[in-house]
């Protein structure tokens, strides 16, 4: 009897702790998506794209160095952005892939940028490639380096930009992302001044399958979209500002255990 009661208590405890947002009907949908992540399809397509001979030069991306050596994708996401000697720049995953697609495959920069985000007419190769490469760091911890002078400069610039208020609504990133438990309407806002929340965002959010957009969106898209809500102009794809913010965020999220692609509203 005692055992049974204990069992019931245990089940009740599991139910309570398992549904932290019991009062939040949106959480049910989020949970369903997380258990059966449509982003897995992007991972498969990205893997195919990575090894396929493509572009004017009919080359695969197997010689693309994402920081750990040519073609090495395992663990690559965990250490980006980082400095690359061949471009003499700090690059995030998307800007590095862009470099490889131009240099190895012969794609034109403006063509890749035109299809960087998928729309109703076109699927983005970039979104698929990022999903694939992100997923190949699953289970590893974020471990972004901060040793090269340019990495340090990027990090500090990112910190500065995160707090820089501008635009017709006086917003900085920090306006919405510096306190616990905040929401814009019903949308939860992560508090980036809390290392644990930062780790979760960096390691499990982007790339993420977005239910409202029926596609995987990348970190570059997240920043672009935040800029849009802040009433700023279209943020340049892989602009230094976007890399600086990503450097600041990803380095601050070091230690977070990667599980990608994520699932978001």
């Amino acid at each position: 009897m005692l055992k049974l009661r204990g069992g019931i208590a245990a089940i009740a405890f599991i139910c309570l702790s398992g549904s932290g947002h019991a009062a939040d009907p949106l959480a049910v949908g989020r949970q369903m998506l997380a258990e059966d992540n449509p982003g897995d399809l992007w991972v498969l397509r990205g893997e195919k794209l990575f090894y396929e001979k493509r572009g004017p030069k009919q080359a695969s991306l197997e010689k693309c160095d994402l920081g750990l050596g040519p073609g090495k994708v395992e663990g690559a996401f965990a250490q980006l952005p980082r400095y690359f000697a061949d471009t003499d720049k700090v690059q995030d995953l998307e800007s590095r892939l862009l470099t490889c697609m131009i240099g190895l495959q012969g794609f034109k920069r403006e063509d890749v940028i035109k299809t960087r985000f998928s729309d109703l007419d076109r699927d983005s190769d970039m979104e698929a490639l990022v999903s694939f490469i992100g997923s190949r760091s699953n289970g590893l911890k974020m471990n972004v380096p901060l040793s090269h002078q340019k990495e340090k400069e990027m990090f500090k610039a990112g910190e500065y930009l995160f707090h820089r208020r501008n635009g017709p609504l006086d917003f900085s990133c920090a306006t919405c992302h510096s306190e616990d438990g905040k929401r814009i309407r019903l949308q939860d806002l992560p508090n980036m001044s809390d290392p644990r929340q930062m780790q979760a965002v960096v390691a499990t959010a982007w790339p993420a399958y977005r239910g409202t957009q029926s596609t995987v969106r990348t970190m570059q898209h997240r920043l672009y979209d935040c800029n849009w809500q802040m009433r700023l102009p279209d943020l340049g794809y892989v602009s230094d500002m976007s890399i600086a913010l990503t450097s600041y965020l990803n380095y601050s999220g070091n230690g977070g255990v990667i599980q990608l692609p994520g699932v978001r509203r």
């Binding site: 340090k152 500090k156 919405c176 309407r185 009433r231």
Partner: protein, 210 residues
């Protein structure tokens, strides 16, 4: 001891790279501001201008735990106070029903593909951050709940004036508050603000109904 260790560790790199260190604040600012000026390629100048900071936005961009000094706060309040404008009619509380629509309108002035969205007017974006009508679930909490705002404060001339000024430029009362300077930035017109004021203070407004 520590210094020696660093010196030894860095020694092999000094020749090739110099020892990497964090740039100081002025250098960081210079690097980052250069990034801002290049962040919006192909955008028309009248739109990129939005990313240029005014004096008070600069003061209000503190990093981490850095605090606003008393002097800075006074400076922000002073310029906010000096630039407040009132509607031509002089009437600071308008039609609450107009305000009700504005308060829940989160659109306006957003840019896609280098073009500003075409709308008749900007929404006031209030419900993005505040509870207003206590029956409306879809409201944010970045700012405090304003349910019962007028019921608690009344709608005296003083309350109406304060509310108008608070929306026109919150930095008059709360320097560097997260709340945008809707009137000061020209995001809302003085007339629109009077409608939102009415929505908050009018006894007939849903904000003040239990």
């Amino acid at each position: 001891m520590k210094t020696i260790k660093i010196a030894v560790l860095c020694a092999p790199f000094v020749i090739a790279l110099g020892c990497a260190s964090f740039p100081d604040q002025p250098t960081t600012q210079k690097i980052a501001e250069q990034m801002v000026s290049e962040a919006y390629p192909g955008m028309p100048a009248e739109l990129t201008r939005r990313s240029v900071q005014d004096k008070d936005q600069k003061i209000c961009s503190k990093i981490g735990d850095a605090k606003l000094s008393e002097q800075e706060a006074a400076e922000v309040v002073r310029s906010a106070r000096a630039t407040i404008k009132y509607p031509a009619s002089g009437k600071l509380a308008g039609d609450w029903k107009v305000g009700a629509k504005l308060a829940y309108d989160g659109g306006g002035s957003r840019i896609r593909g280098g073009k500003v969205e075409k709308l008749k007017e900007n929404g006031a974006n209030c419900s993005n951050c505040h509870v207003l009508d206590p029956r409306e679930v879809n409201a944010g909490n970045v700012g405090p709940s304003l349910a019962g705002y007028g019921a608690q404060r009344g709608n005296s001339e003083a309350v109406v004036k304060y509310t108008y000024e608070k929306i026109y430029n919150p930095w008059v009362y709360f320097p560097c508050s997260n709340m945008p300077r809707m009137g000061h930035n020209g995001y809302l017109t003085p007339e629109q603000i009077t409608a939102v004021v009415a929505y908050l203070v009018d006894p007939e407004s849903p904000v003040n109904k239990k």
